[in-house]
């Protein structure tokens, strides 16, 4: 089965989001990434494969090791698309919370 891989599907999973955070500041091997999770190594490999297929991660061969690093360009594409929409709702909901706190019974 050939699943369509895309950035939104990629970031929908909490483990994959954690992997992206992990490699945001440093390039790491699959082993080093896996050591940060309780998840089985093959499961982490699967996540890395998905993130690579949708071009959020890039692989780089250094000697015998393959290092993963973040593809900043595509990460920005997601944020640009969704973030203003998310912020609008966040702003509204922050306001809702502030306003409704005035109706809380006094303790």
């Amino acid at each position: 089965m050939n699943l369509r891989r895309d950035v939104f599907q990629a970031i929908a999973d909490p483990t994959r989001r954690a992997i992206l955070l992990l490699v945001a500041t440093q390039s790491l091997t699959a082993g080093a990434i896996a050591s940060n999770f309780d998840t089985a190594r093959p499961t982490v490999s699967k996540h890395l494969q998905i993130l690579t297929e949708c071009e959020l991660l890039k692989q780089e061969q250094t000697g015998r090791e393959i290092y993963y690093h973040i593809n900043a360009k595509n990460m920005k594409a997601i944020a640009d698309f969704i973030e203003p929409f998310r912020r609008m709702w966040d702003d509204r909901f922050n306001k809702l919370e502030e306003i409704m706190k005035n109706y809380l019974p006094k303790k």
Partner: protein, 155 residues
């Protein structure tokens, strides 16, 4: 900083899910969604009509400083279960974005925490993506100004 409002939008789908937790009891969260004078305060719109019942109609409007209508949306409520669920249609008048279906579920998490989940379904993938690309910045600014006005009354 933790993001309190979460958006789940998968590529190639014609829906989105917005979730948010509040430091409010469920009853207060639900009131904010269903009492016109409260809706006006946090949405930043005028509420011209809001019939909180099955087949009730709703109509929101927003005008700029010169009185021009800049946001005009309406729809019909199909399910109204207090403190639990609202299902309604949503359409921005005079726009090509079509009719959206909005399913809002309300959850009590603890005595003083609650959550809302908005599932918004668009007619097509293209319509969803167009709506997501609308310039929201303007909306945020209106909302922000309203908040300052409103909160200054409590000083």
């Amino acid at each position: 900083m933790e993001l309190k409002t979460k958006i789940h939008a998968e590529d190639g789908r014609h829906d989105i899910v917005i979730t948010r937790e509040f430091d409010l009891p469920l009853e207060l969260l639900f009131r904010a969604f269903t009492e016109p004078e409260l809706i006006e305060q946090w949405m930043g719109n005028k509420v011209l009509q809001f019939e909180a019942k099955k087949y009730g109609a709703w109509h929101f409007e927003n005008r700029d400083d010169k009185g021009n209508v800049v946001f005009d949306a309406d729809g019909v409520i199909h399910e109204f279960i207090p403190n639990r669920k609202i299902t309604r249609t949503f359409e921005m008048r005079h726009t090509p974005f079509g009719v959206q279906l909005e399913v809002s579920d309300f959850y009590q998490l603890t005595e003083d925490k609650s959550q809302v989940k908005l599932h918004v379904i668009y007619e097509t993938v293209e319509q969803r993506d167009e709506v997501l690309k609308l310039p929201f910045k303007q909306g945020i600014n209106w909302a922000h100004n309203r908040l300052e006005e409103f909160m200054s009354k409590f000083k």
